[in-house]
Symmetry: C2
Subunit: 440 residues, 2 copies
């Protein structure tokens, strides 16, 4: 019985045309985050399971991790999230590192869940983190980086929206304003997180079930529903206006709008599932009618590094997945046509394999990327193979070309043929390198 | 109790200075293999265990894989080797793909073994494969690519050696010349593979134990030992000289030497552990006295794609691990000094965070990669942090600089300071991009 050729369910094979798209996306990500002074790091895809138990949500650890016992008896997990790993690494060199510390990575992450549009079991995720800045410029910069990425891909301001909230404010509203117990507040925040995905009626009944009989008799639920209708900071109940988190949110939104980010809004229903956020949280939403959804987000998590037994380090960051990003780029028609990594197929005519080596080496030394067709097939089937591979040009080399030092170059898109010197061919079709400009 | 900060045993954290080395190595690998017309692909790190059982060596599958059962009851493995995955992908599109097909990848691979110098549990491995070329030009090109990589890193010809053998020849010698049973031949090839690592006495006693009583009475062992002393094709027993594999090896060695590769030798003791090789095999050895070892290798495996139920595709390829490669580059002093991805730290003077945004955006648009220090610390401790981070320059921006459009630039290596315009700073310290020339 032969083996199946499909990849593991919920994961992807990247054939060269798919890999090119990923490489293009990653090169833009790297260019933008490096323009903000972030440096790349990496960590192993296997981690001890303990680092997720501490702070990742229970749902992920108990139901969605790829966890197993290794041959030495250690409980390990294929990372579902990079934040615990990067916190571990910063804690490991807490004293030696220079702050503010700007780090990024594009790790491969795995979660066992039902594959669906925009969510696979396996994805890559840009992680951008700023360590050692406890005040607003940190939050501002992180959101600016996220915005700059989408803008550098060519996204228009009206195609997405940045929604901001404060976990400090949300906590205060839950515990002090609505007078909920801590465990109730946690359940409510999860419910609020889902509020856009369920009906108002379902929301009410689920919310009702979380309340004590006493709370049900008071106006707790009505006050919660009223809160979730708030669209602007000034609409918050008067007693809330004095809370410092409101002033912070106001300043942050102003700072972002003054940086040209008009598409930023306050959203009190934004809680973000992960338990480790401590203050500002944000999410970026796609506004395309066919893809109206949260794409990615982040926020401040000042407590995570200290879980590894060192002094706390204020941290703000975000993660951006490659599946949601590529969906966004596709639906907004922002993916350019990408040429293959090969400039030309060289078709050898006659028995010249040994004598042509020097010339091939010359082409490569000059920067041409070329695949040599050494097969003895008919000329037209060799040209057909070259065209099928997506490579744009064919160079024919036979004995005469080797002695005359002029080579026939065929443009497979137009069918045009020219006889040119090695230098002219290189100048015409080898990759041109431009400086990394244009980060916006 | 706090969580430990070490990475999983046998795996590595890549702090930015380590990641830079890896990025440099990978960029050279990509540049060289793309100059030969190879295109990048990728596959998931998790694969069904079945694809390894078919052809990877039993030792790896039974003792060294990270295998487990997923939450849906599937037996999966974290890939120890990329060849089964790439064979699966080619088989999946056997008819649609254009041949010759040149593919490469730099996957992350895992094997559960005792970590030691040059071998970790986790590594990256460049995989280069040429599909659809059944004759010598295929083998020649693959070895040329491997050689070109080391040369492009700056390695000298006398610092490494390329050893070549033929599994066809080795099989014939085992089965026909020495008249061993198939299972004996397999055990002998594994033993031969280890022959450089054990003493001659140990080798003899292990070899003896593999023979039948009848074989022990004849001169089987002596003839085997004599064979392993052969250093050149002409020294092979006369009866062997007629075997077609000998002529092929001779042609290949000549072809390589005519391509300038003087450091190529025949090595009959070269078997390579993996069961899927069918013909030419090769290994590259480091000749440095302190690192005298096999670095990497490959060969022809014409049968693997057909395991997935399609017509066979002739294939030749090699894999090169990042741990052995970086050891080679370090011991031969071939790793250049690598600058961080950040050109400058911007130190803000006074309360200008909001007004400086436009200027910072201008710097980024022009291609400068810079980290902004927004902290309110003393100037000298901010300069100290910048120096500690390894970033080469500091730019000071206060209210006067914003209005005068000239900025103080400090070279942290020399201490020199200059007042320059934005354009001059960019021209002086932003990355310059050169064409990808110089593949040798």
């Amino acid at each position: 019985m032969s083996l199946p050729t499909q990849p593991y369910r919920g994961a992807r094979d990247f054939y060269p045309e798919d890999k090119r798209v990923q490489k293009y996306m990653f090169s833009v990500l790297r260019r933008v985050v490096e323009s903000f002074g972030y440096q790349e790091y990496d960590a192993p895809i296997l981690e001890p399971i303990d680092i997720y138990i501490a702070k990742t949500s229970e749902e992920i650890v108990n139901e969605q991790t790829y966890s197993f016992t290794d041959r030495g008896g250690r409980s390990v997990t294929i990372r579902p999230d990079m934040t615990p790993s990067v916190s571990r690494m910063v804690a490991g060199r807490r004293q030696e590192l220079a702050y503010p510390l700007r780090w990024y990575s594009i790790p491969n992450l795995w979660r066992y869940e039902r594959p669906q549009a925009g969510r696979l079991r396996e994805h890559w995720q840009l992680n951008v983190d700023l360590f050692g800045v406890s005040d607003l410029p940190g939050d501002h910069e992180i959101i600016l980086v996220a915005d700059s990425i989408l803008r550098t891909f060519g996204a228009k301001r009206d195609s997405y929206e940045i929604r901001i909230n404060s976990r400090l404010l949300l906590n205060w509203l839950m515990l002090e304003y609505l007078r909920l117990e801590h465990s109730q507040a946690v359940s409510f925040m999860r419910l609020i997180d889902r509020s856009e995905k369920i009906s108002a009626k379902e929301f009410s009944s689920l919310a009702e079930s979380l309340l004590t009989p006493t709370q049900r008799e008071t106006d707790t639920l009505q006050r919660l529903v009223a809160l979730l209708k708030v669209k602007r900071l000034v609409e918050l109940p008067l007693v809330t206006q004095q809370h410092p988190a409101v002033g912070e949110l106001e300043k942050l939104i102003n700072l972002l709008q003054n940086s040209g980010i008009a598409n930023v809004t306050f959203d009190l229903s934004l809680a973000r599932g992960l338990d480790y956020y401590t203050n500002i949280v944000f999410e970026v939403f796609d506004k395309h009618p066919d893809n109206n959804r949260s794409m990615f987000g982040g926020g401040r998590y000042d407590g995570l590094v200290a879980e590894f037994g060192v002094d706390p380090v204020p941290t703000v960051g975000f993660g951006m997945g490659d599946v949601t990003l590529s969906n966004f780029l596709k639906i907004h028609k922002l993916l350019p046509e990408l040429a293959p990594e090969t400039d030309a197929v060289v078709i050898l005519i006659g028995d010249i394999y040994e004598t042509v080596q020097k010339t091939l080496a010359n082409f490569r030394e000059e920067g041409l990327r070329m695949a040599v067709d050494t097969t003895q097939r008919r000329l037209d089937s060799r040209i057909k193979s070259a065209a099928k591979s997506g490579v744009p040009y064919v160079i024919f080399i036979g004995h005469d070309e080797l002695t005359g030092r002029r080579f026939k170059l065929k443009d497979l898109a137009t069918g045009n043929e020219q006889e040119l010197s090695l230098e002219r061919i290189v100048a015409k079709i080898a990759p041109r390198h431009r400086p990394n400009r244009g980060v916006v």
